[in-house]
């Protein structure tokens, strides 16, 4: 690095640190979830060799069909998460209470709702929002974090034994969602992508678009906010999508992705102002890893 030295006390850094109490509580919440029996019936896990083959063929690993969940645990996790959000979002307490009430009154069945999220049934989730007259933004936020402990468990379970991922796609190797944030190691320069939905991480080429795999440097650019050299946005002029990236000295395994994902909101605004967009995190682009849509996408990016 010559000119791009890490600015350790930038404005954005300081403000991301304001999320520390929330990030700490969230971490503790996820840790406590790990002690619970989340699945009654575990996700389908192929033999190691089959999983390796699936990955080398671009098929992500998590297939939600056939999983079983513990209703009591789902309900407990949902209510605990709502309490946590209430603590940190004082001005949205009423909206969060409305969600909690709908769950207590069983207008929303936690288990069914959770399955809808895990199966990426976006339309069903939007129906729940409409039927119960809930705030869309906060409900979506809640939905993603409600499913996280389950998806994260699935990620760890399915990646067991796979030391080095043979994975060269931009979407998550476990759940198929697009990456939420990119981490660039400030020592080695390696880029790691992170999945907001299941907390999986995978290495991905620095000079390639994670969405359309474009490698043309004329159409793949970096946007840097002024005086914020550690924060950047990779924009693709071909597919018009963007990815937030943080250049950090903190190793991937210790990097607080959630905190940085949430704290780098200004980068999203900048990208959108420039005409770039990000797809909804609630659903995946391809409903499952077996479908023809995913195959067609892979064929398209390979021949483009």
């Amino acid at each position: 690095m010559n000119n791009q030295r890490i600015n350790s006390s930038s404005e954005m850094d300081g403000n991301i640190d304001k999320l520390n109490p929330f990030a700490s509580d969230l971490k503790e919440f996820f840790e406590s979830c790990k002690t619970l029996p989340l699945f009654k019936k575990l996700p389908l896990r192929d033999e190691l060799e089959v999983r390796k083959q699936r990955l080398s063929g671009g098929r992500y690993l998590f297939r939600p069909c056939g999983i079983g969940l513990h209703p009591n645990e789902s309900n407990k996790i949902a209510l605990e998460l709502l309490e946590l959000l209430k603590k940190h979002l004082c001005d949205r307490k009423d909206e969060l209470s409305a969600i909690a009430d709908a769950m207590i009154q069983e207008k929303i069945i936690a288990n069914d709702f959770l399955l809808q999220i895990i199966k990426n049934e976006g339309n069903q989730i939007r129906k729940v929002i409409r039927d119960n007259n809930l705030a869309e933004d906060i409900f979506t936020f809640f939905a993603i974090y409600f499913a996280r402990p389950f998806r994260q468990f699935a990620s760890e379970y399915l990646l067991e034994g796979l030391d080095k991922l043979n994975w060269f796609s931009g979407y998550c190797p476990v759940c198929g969602h697009w990456p939420g944030l990119g981490h660039i190691n400030s020592e080695g320069g390696q880029r790691t992508l992170w999945c907001l939905s299941c907390n999986s991480k995978w290495n991905f080429k620095r000079t390639q678009c994670a969405f359309c795999l474009n490698e043309d440097h004329q159409t793949l650019q970096i946007l840097n906010p002024e005086n914020e050299e550690s924060y950047r946005i990779q924009i693709c002029k071909k597919c018009k999508r963007y990815l937030k990236e943080v250049r950090s000295i903190i190793e991937v395994k210790n990097f607080p992705f959630d905190k940085y994902y949430l704290g780098t909101l200004p980068l999203d605004v900048i990208a959108e102002q420039k005409g770039y967009f990000q797809e909804s995190m609630l659903t995946v682009r391809y409903e499952n890893s077996e479908g023809n849509e995913l195959l067609m996408y892979r064929q398209k990016v390979e021949f483009d």
Partner: protein
């Protein structure tokens, strides 16, 4: 979310969690429209190969408005996986260096002064002197064997020459008959 231009990056932090919820949950257009445009700089990252030696390490060169702002090892390159040798690491200074001479400086034989010269004068002067030395020292035969060489000129390649420049330099040297041909390509 209403944020003024001044201190936008800071203001966003004060309500970061609330803002992030909007970010995840809602269509972006309305939110983006509520914030004034933020000044950004556009950087291009291009991959290339280190010019120095035959190993062929991968590099990422960052440029802004056509000017090099950073050169680093390409972490995705199979040969060097992001690492560079000391010369490779200093490549940035080849492209951007205030101490780099940009005009020809000439010191005449016996003089202690440097004079600024034009490229036209310099190139023709070099050609003239090479020709003169070569003609004066050219050896066609030695022990009845054709050698076609000059012992009066030596050629030394510099460490910052790239592969293509080295190729041209060695072609030139051999065509002139230079046998004392060396290169400082060592780390």
């Amino acid at each position: 979310m209403k944020i003024s231009r001044r201190g936008f990056l800071g203001a966003a932090g004060a309500s970061t969690l609330g803002g992030a919820i909007t970010l995840i949950g809602l269509p972006k257009t309305a939110k983006a429209a509520s914030v004034p445009e933020i000044k950004t700089v556009e950087t291009t990252e291009s991959t290339t190969i280190c010019p120095y030696c035959g190993v062929g390490c991968g590099l990422i060169v960052s440029t802004r408005e056509g000017k090099v702002i950073n050169i680093e090892g390409d972490p995705d390159h199979p040969i060097n996986e992001g690492s560079l040798c000391s010369k490779g690491m200093a490549l940035f200074q080849v492209a951007v260096n205030e101490r780099r001479l940009q005009k020809v400086k000439y010191r005449a034989p016996g003089s202690s002064e440097w004079e600024e010269k034009s490229w036209d004068w310099t190139l023709s002067e070099i050609a003239k002197r090479v020709k003169k030395t070569r003609d004066a020292t050219f050896l066609k035969k030695e022990d009845d064997k054709i050698v076609n060489r000059t012992n009066g000129i030596a050629c030394m390649g510099g460490a910052s020459l790239d592969n293509e420049e080295c190729y041209l330099l060695s072609k030139f040297a051999r065509s002139v008959g230079i046998t004392y041909l060396e290169h400082q390509a060592r780390i």
